[in-house]
Subunit: 155 residues, 2 copies
């Protein structure tokens, strides 16, 4: 049992000093949760969430991803990707096209409307990111991205 | 439309060079997804997942959190916290106790068995973290934690 005389900290301030406050997995999870909530809120004005925004971004960028590649890259279930692509296709923002290099596979491309919406949504997403990074210098922002890339794409 | 003659990249390598590859929200989400999957796999031998591990950690650390504080700190729905605490309590790893400072609230404390399990689980979690950070120097590990803390606990 912990010492019963210990005063319980007010709010979550005491929890930050706990054993979990130095845990990288926890810090990643909490930073991601806050960032995701802010991104979803900002993207909602475009009828998007972080997941559909990511798919639209890759379709708009012209990298012609297959749905399997989208699932691998975005760490989503293939069934989630199908549902998200269906939704974007119904809104005529993306199209599934047969891959000329492999006629068994479909690749995803954005329509003109999809690329226009992505351009607007990207501005909202960037504004959110700048807000979240208000306490981080541009140099540290780049350093953070580099370090996260090592975790996100282990070799 | 993107240029139709553009060759689709093989696998997800081409997607990394896309507009999304420099997006901090995306890097955070993907780093978190990989870290969470690795943590859940390592913690399963202790009958835990990252979420129940976090709750057990805070109970074992003696900070005597309320369930509301746990929900705020871990960014979970209060109903999720109740279910996770129920599960840990059934396994006699934690106990809900009346807070002497506020008799309307319950605080969470770990049992002896709970603290023993946490000590073992923590070793597994640390081993996973070291594996994930193999490409990161100890100095950069600390820098990453500092930068994530700015995002995880905006002032």
């Amino acid at each position: 049992m912990p010492p019963t005389g210990r005063t319980r900290p007010t709010g979550t301030a005491g929890l930050r000093d706990s054993v979990l406050g130095g845990d990288l997995s926890f810090l990643l999870a909490r930073a991601n949760a806050l960032t995701l909530a802010a991104a979803n809120a900002a993207l909602s004005q475009h009828g998007l969430k972080a997941r559909s925004y990511s798919i639209l971004a890759l379709a708009a960028d012209g990298v012609r991803p297959t749905q399997r590649e989208l699932a691998d890259f975005l760490r989503l279930d293939p069934s989630q990707v199908v549902a998200l692509v269906d939704e974007l296709e119904e809104r005529q923002l993306v199209e599934r096209r047969t891959d000329p290099a492999d006629r068994r596979a479909n690749v995803l491309v954005a329509t003109d409307a999809g690329r226009a919406l992505f351009a607007r949504a990207r501005q909202s997403a960037h504004a959110v990111e700048l807000g979240l990074l208000a306490a981080v210098t541009p140099k540290d922002h780049e350093r953070l991205a580099e370090l996260l890339r090592l975790l996100a794409f282990p070799s």
